[in-house]
Symmetry: C2
């Protein structure tokens, strides 16, 4: 994998760090892998591949899988030869605790990051496959005020938006401009998500190559209940249950090396403990061989994102006053990194 | 507790069972308790009370609890002396798996039943305290079509609803009529929910007495992770975790006997297995001493609800064609049972 020149990225870093305006700070770090580390990681990988295969054998795709993949293929194939595409994954995956599901383990992800990022990818010229948790936050719709509180009756078929009228108008105009450039694919469970991730990234790799990006903003469960341990009916409430979880195979390694080796792949790390965040981000790049990690802390994720690239460079994006979405800065930064990656691979 | 004459309920039962129109069928059953059963149940209860106390000692209320309870008191106290009130609980409770919560166990409840029921309680003349899971389905708003797909720009501050315009108009009109009669209180976790259930039902009992109803449509977790077993930070993904759950104390017994003994209390049973549904409904009434169980099967809950009263009577409500919400029939039925209960206790 080539190493684009990081110094192309200087526009935003000229803003002094004391400014309250959005800033991107660059520094060097030690995320690049030594040969010994890679070789040691490779032993782990063979085992990980087997676990991935076993997962897909154990858990079937969603009933809509074939129909959704046909839509993906049609969306990708009717594009011009310089068009960039991004697969944005968004929202949390649930893991069922029963076969006839009543209960499940979920995480707090709302899909806010993926939905906002999708808008800025569209405005940066990308076509977006928006792979999202059903009923998670949606691009454009996310900023429309609740109708019950803002709509007022005004004549036979017209509604006056008493507040936020100009804002809603801008949203609808942006949506109308971009709606043909977004394809919606929804999931609920971990299994459905991973099947789509594999299918869509393979399709991107085949048809789009280096012009494709995979932006892994979804909060994927680290654990699941194996089919063999799952009861058929609702767990009864007369005894204390114990839930034994299995580890979800790390799909990012087959993603980066087999499914979509040409795509520019960005993963996310979210932690509550700042001590382990950067360590885990750098370890992930060494282990999984993808291009970029966006590292977040739960408490500051709306104002600060630290990007760590496989080249070893680190860039911090700050948006202290939240006057606009931090995703605007993030996507601008990633678009430029993707350009450098394309240049290096052309 | 008095036993109102079930035969007052004849209006809907005259419709023959073969009709495709909504029907209510009545029959007798054996839900009434023998003295021996009650005495045996009482031994269990002492232990259950201790568990409830321990739960409230272990898990503190939400930071907004005092402010929300002040709103509840103000809402209840400014009413006329014949006004009926209902506490509608709606949506699912989550149980955190970490103190700084990233993951949780949830259930599939959307809040659809509680939101629809709230509308029909309002139209039946009740004031409603709508204790709901944050972001669950809301009364009135539930039927407004997605704005992004239905709004069109038409001039400076007016939006044309291209479809469903008359429908949206009726919703806004109904909302405007009833909005002063509904008080919103939201929760997310099991602990927050149970604190509000206790606080609000005690307040109803004190100020409203028999004119109060408690309608327990929320899907309350049967299990939780005790504070002592909960890690501070996100569970790390390098080992297979085992989650040991404790049983949630059955709060319906203190609710029916201590917090709100005067209120008319309706609980719900939802099962996936029809074999155990009626048995569990009848057992619940014997054990917890409340007034009514609405029994549902997961697969048919939109078309059939079976009401089992503490008097031993059983009524089935069918809404086979779903031309209107089944909650319209359910609330009409419960309003009449509540009237009979009020007559018997006046």
């Amino acid at each position: 994998m080539s190493r684009p020149n990081w110094q192309h990225q200087t526009t935003l870093s000229k803003i002094p760090a004391t400014s309250s305006k959005p800033i991107v700070q660059h520094s060097s770090a030690s995320a690049s892998s030594t040969t010994a580390e890679v070789m040691s990681a490779d032993n782990i990988k063979t085992e990980e591949f087997k676990l991935c295969d076993a997962f897909f054998k154990e858990i079937p795709p969603h009933a809509d899988y074939d129909e959704s993949m046909a839509r993906v293929k049609s969306f990708i194939q009717n594009s011009n030869p310089v068009q960039r595409f991004v697969l944005v994954t968004s929202g949390g995956t649930l893991i069922p605790l029963e076969r006839l599901m009543v209960r499940y383990i979920d995480n707090f992800s709302t899909g806010s990051r993926g939905a906002a990022s999708t808008e800025y990818f569209l405005e940066a010229g990308y076509k977006v496959i928006f792979l999202h948790r059903a009923k998670s936050i949606q691009p454009f719709a996310r900023n429309i005020p609740p109708p019950l509180e803002t709509l007022e009756w005004e004549g036979v078929a017209a509604w006056a938006v008493s507040r936020d009228s100009a804002k809603v108008r801008r949203i609808l105009e942006r949506y109308a401009k971009h709606k043909a450039s977004i394809l919606y694919v929804s999931f609920e469970s971990l299994g459905d998500y991973l099947w789509y991730l594999k299918g869509i990234s393979c399709e991107l790799n085949k048809s789009i190559g280096h012009r494709g990006m995979v932006y892994l903003a979804a909060a994927v469960s680290d654990f699941y209940v194996p089919s063999s341990e799952m009861p058929e009916h609702k767990i009864q409430s007369d005894t204390k249950p114990t839930i034994n979880l299995a580890l979800t195979p790390k799909m990012i390694y087959p993603l980066a090396t087999i499914w979509a080796p040409k795509a520019y792949i960005v993963s996310f790390k979210l932690e509550t403990d700042s001590e382990i965040l950067m360590e885990k981000a750098q370890k992930a790049l060494k282990t999984y061989r993808h291009n970029m990690v966006a590292a977040n802390l739960l408490t500051t994720r709306k104002t600060t994102v630290t990007f760590v690239e496989s080249t070893g460079k680190v860039a911090r994006i700050d948006n202290p006053e939240e006057t606009s979405d931090i995703e605007l800065l993030m996507i601008g930064f990633l678009r430029d990194r993707h350009s450098a990656y394309l240049d290096a691979n052309s």
